[in-house]
Amino acid sequence: MEVRDLVKRYPKRPTNAVDGVSFAVEQGEIFGLLGPNGAGKTTTIGILTTRVALTSGYAGVGGVDVAADPVRARTVISVVPQRPNLDRSLNARQNLLFHAAYHGMGRAERGRRADELLERMGLGDRGKDKVDDYSGGMAQRLLIARALMHRPQVLFLDEPSTGLDPQARLFVWDQVRELRAAGTTVVVTTHDMDEAAEISDRVGIMDHGTLLALDTPDALTRTLPGDSTVDLVLGEVDAAREPALRDALGGLGGVRRVEDVGGDAGRPPGERDLRVRLYLDVPGASVLGAAAEAVERHGARLLSVALGEPTLEDVFISLTGRDLR
């Protein structure tokens, strides 16, 4: 799967929704496309799945030019949408059967494959149920089963964990990993950093229609300074003394950088809560004493402390200067 210099501009919009994006995904790879709402992820996927017409550039799946031959492209792709779009006039098994019929699969093979996939998705005894009676997790599994009916080379999962309980989410991730093992390419769009880090072989980070970074989750977090983080929530911060406080925190031994991770703009001017993250070369616990002292020296109050390791979220903050949410 490949996109080159991909551009999409919707009519009557001042900017490009996708603005010159290029990347390639290997067969059998799990690729995470990460970014906030409106970053251009969904449009990029829309182009690759033939539902959005590209403005310029190239998009190809399984060696098929999506813009030039969308009909052929549809034989190699499959989509699991964020919101269930199951055919509610049909029961669960019939949803799979008719999907396969649209893709020209013979009657005997359709039935065999539907039973096999229902079984695999843990829906073996629920095939005759109306899809209206399905829970969110079951609908998601049925959507995946439907998407797999015609043996796609590339499976697109749009925000797969939205609205799923933790157990259902783990089940979906397991299935995605098995698909990779069988040679299917999986493209996952998400704004959930943990999800992206957990299942993706490589992650592309998008914002404002451009691709900011692309690498393995480990390599991306390694680009950040330091190897541990400390989050501080500070109260009663005097605006006049805030720069000096930041300098003091930044000057502590082992601190590489100080980043804002969302303050509290609702406070009266002159006083506010401040959330900062310190990126460290040393274990987080070793700077706590000095940090608390510096906070107090500058007239603020330490409200809470959290230790952690840099995550993809930190990569996003460092790339864009703002929080993902």
Binding site: R51, G63, P70, R74, V79, P81, Y102, Q153
Partner: protein, 275 residues
């Protein structure tokens, strides 16, 4: 809840790109619609036949028996009602599902991702709505016989009546495609009320168009309604003693409307289906 690996993992192995079979995909879509209708046949017939049955009963039978309507009116009415049933059934069967699909359920997305050109998904809707329109209008013959006691049709009229009903259902379905893709969900109620009622009463269903000479403006309005040509064609064949618009004019008008509505509807459909 860990998924198993092993021989059944073969179910996940992808297939090579295939040359898409557009015909099979089209038949698959049609098969789905036929299957669903087959299961809901009773509901479908009740939905489309109640209105024409009452129309026929009250205007053709009750008013006639009470003496408010001259004898013979039912012979003018029946062909119009048959034409109107096919036309409107087809129209509703493209317009409503499309509005619901595009605006709410998104159920159509799986069909839009089937390996066939996007326009053919819309054409399938037209073909299927036409089938439903034909079934509904065909049902009006035995029902007419039952309600009115006789149906004025000769074997020689059958070919052109059939052509008229096929064309009428096609035009209705294509008009439904236009409405279903141009109208947003929030306005569909208004549009249906504003479009359907005038369509029904200016379609020369309850009167022969040629006799509107004394009501010139209304005659002109009726001439703009595609249903007029369907009604006139069917009536002209079934009740030749009543003056009707010549068959060739009706056929030409139907084909013209069909081409126009299909072109506009397909454009609207592509716009809704592909961003």
């Amino acid at each position: 809840m860990t998924a198993s690996t092993g021989p059944e993992a073969a179910a996940l192995v992808p297939a090579a790109p295939r040359t898409p079979s557009v015909g099979k995909a089209f038949l698959g879509l049609l098969g789905r619609d036929v299957f669903v209708t087959g299961r809901e046949l009773g509901g479908f017939l009740a939905q489309v036949l109640l209105q024409p049955i009452f129309l026929l009963f009250v205007f053709g039978k009750v008013l006639g028996d009470l003496g408010y309507v001259q004898g013979g009116f039912e012979q003018v009415l029946l062909p119009g009602v048959i034409a109107f049933t096919g036309f409107l059934t087809a129209l509703q069967n493209t317009a409503l599902p499309l509005v619901i699909d595009f605006s709410f359920t998104k159920e159509i997305e799986d069909r839009l991702l089937a390996p066939l050109p996007t326009s053919l998904v819309a054409i399938e809707k037209i073909v299927f709505a036409t089938l439903r329109g034909l079934i509904a209008s065909a049902m009006m013959f035995p029902l007419g016989l039952l309600i009115l006691g006789s149906v004025p049709i000769t074997w020689s009229a059958v070919p052109l009546v059939s052509v008229g009903l096929v064309l009428g259902s096609l035009v209705g379905a294509a008009l439904g495609l236009v409405l279903g893709t141009l109208v947003t969900a929030s306005k569909i109620n208004v549009v249906f009320a504003v479009v359907l009622t005038p369509l029904l009463f200016t379609g020369s269903t309850q009167f022969p168009w040629s006799q509107l000479d004394g009501l010139r403006w209304f005659q002109v309005v009726c001439a703009l309604n595609p249903l007029t040509y369907v009604s006139e064609l069917v009536r002209g064949q079934m009740v030749p003693q009543v003056e009707s618009i010549p068959a060739w004019v009706c056929l030409l008008a139907c084909v013209g409307f069909l081409v126009l509505f299909t072109a506009v509807g397909l454009r609207g459909f592509r716009r809704r289906a592909v961003d």
